[in-house]
Amino acid sequence: MLRGDFDPPYTLQEGNDEMKSNRWKRNLPLHLMIIPGVILIFLFAYIPMGGIAMAFQKFIPNRGLFGSEWVGFANFVYMINMPDIYDVVRNTVLIAMSKIVLGQFVAIMAALLLNEMRNRRVVRTVQTLIYMPHFLSWVILGGILVDVLSTNGGIVNQLLGVFGIEPIFFLGSNSWFPITLIASDIWKEFGFSTIIYLAALTSINPTLYEAAYIDGANRWKQTLHITLPGIGPIVVLLALLSLGNVLNAGFEQVFMLYSPQVYRSGDIIDTMVYRIGFQDFQYGVSTAVNLFKSVISMVLIIISYRLVYKIANYRIF
């Protein structure tokens, strides 16, 4: 990915002291440019990272990070002994994985089917409609879901009533809530992934299809032996990159839609971190749970970056 090196005029003679100071002078503007970004990242990313120390404290805001009592791993012990932590971890992984797997499946199917369509205008219209929800916030989509899924006159239950089905508590029953989360996440995001897969599909060399056609392969055989291998690498790439998201079940969505009666099936690590921190004001425990999550996520991200680099020769920077 690094381009071939070239020598700009100012470094023609390396090693010479005068030239080195010259280079420093040349590069000074580069440092000046990057400084504002460096300062902001320091204030809003690195200082909070120092705040992770709270995970090992009984943190009291008035006393600050340096005045609060150190408690070692007590917060983590407390976390393991919380009765609902196992439910929460299980919900998180289950919801996140289902969203990733089903979402990608729907997106690949949609891309394959769109790729078969010959009417360009229909393809464009379908694309326009399916990735619009991606650009809307969970507040908007959550508001819409609350309205259409309501058991009190919501249109979905009205429609089910026509078929004689009893109203379903999509957002209030523990068996339906995770399904609602997964389905509505696919509604919001599958169009976005479809674009990526469609781009990969259109970059497949059309002469391959022509050759296969002449050799007598039908459309199904062509899909099986040309199209699928053609998008294989991008599927693998995206699958590997999503590894870091196994513990991200979608905070904003769950926070918008959940309620105490569905905590058992829908509470996730992030919403729990929020409640422990900002409703129970147990800052230390909240930070500890968050740290537990970020350490696992970080390990997964590093593994996925390494695998991606090895397998697909892809680098983030």
Binding site: R3, A110, P206
Partner: protein, 292 residues
């Protein structure tokens, strides 16, 4: 290529078009339903008569919103945040991406800086430490609490620096020969050539700022400081409307009417920029995710 025109092929196309149209409707119909409710008479809404077209068309809900000073001020705060936040995002992104697009051989500090920014993608402080930092800086209840923490987006920087790297090197070389410095090269040569990328990033940033709501909930204590999406969040998740509307208004307009109208107004700016989004996003996304 010649398409075989067999019966099975025709059947496949019929099925395919039906599936894709059904999928599109699945995405579209909820929005139409919400739109129809917002323009309907409250009695029809309560009676469950509104499906996909307004019944007894009227603008009560919208005239109510127009007279609601809380909604108006939240809209104004969102607008300020979006404009100011986007400008800062884009400026910082360009200023960081340019030095990072240089080769390490010529800008030895590059690798240090790359690590410095990269690390923030791997780990963050988390909810409570972030909140405590914002509090320590005295930014609680300030608009800056919504702008500064996300002002430097490493994701945008990666997109931008990859674009800068795609520009021909001869441009920079010849500018150096002519005596230009890095500032001149960035603002007079690179930026004008990068307008499509800058447009993409600006749109990303605008949508991000307009849609953000959780930071408002976290960092702003006083509801009168909420941006629109945070304001909407509190309305949607708190069914207790008595706090938000005086009784006389409740006589005329159902809460469902007003809610849907507010949702509709909340997504209107996104719908307005959507055609542009579509054009730039596809390029940006594809460059960002399939780059080799």
């Amino acid at each position: 290529m010649v398409e075989p025109n067999s019966l099975s092929r025709k059947l496949f196309h019929a099925a395919n078009y039906s599936i894709m149209i059904a999928l599109s409707l699945f995405c579209l119909l909820p929005f139409i339903h919400i739109w129809a409710i917002s323009f309907s008479d409250s009695a029809a809404v309560n009676g469950g008569l509104v499906k996909l077209w307004p019944v007894d068309f009227n603008l009560d809900a919208y005239s109510y919103i127009l007279g609601d000073s809380k909604f108006g001020s939240a809209f104004w705060i969102s607008l300020q945040r979006t404009v100011l936040g986007t400008l800062i995002n884009v400026l910082l992104c360009v200023l960081v991406a340019y030095p990072l697009s240089k080769e390490s051989t010529h800008f030895p500090a590059r690798s240090v800086y790359v690590w410095y920014f990269m690390l923030t993608m791997l780990i963050g402080g988390g909810l409570v430490p972030n909140y405590m930092a914002i509090k320590a800086y005295g930014l609680i209840d300030s608009l800056w609490a919504l702008i500064l923490p996300g002002a430097v987006s490493v994701y945008f920087i990666v997109l931008m620096l990859n674009f800068f790297r795609g520009l021909p090197r001869e441009l920079e070389e010849s500018a150096f020969v002519d005596g230009a410095g890095h500032w001149t090269i960035l603002f007079k040569i690179y930026m004008p050539l990068s307008l499509p990328s800058i447009a993409t990033i600006s749109l990303f940033a605008m949508v991000g700022h307009w849609n953000a709501w959780f930071d408002g909930l976290l960092y702003l204590n006083r509801p009168e400081n909420y941006p629109l999406q945070t304001f909407l969040q509190t309305i949607i998740t708190q069914p207790d409307m008595s706090k938000l509307h005086d009784v006389s208004q409740m006589m005329n307009v159902t809460t469902r009417n007003v809610k849907t109208a507010q949702i509709f107004v909340g997504m209107l700016p996104i719908l307005l920029v959507y055609p542009f989004l579509q054009r730039f996003f596809i390029k940006g996304i594809v460059v960002g995710s399939v780059k080799g």
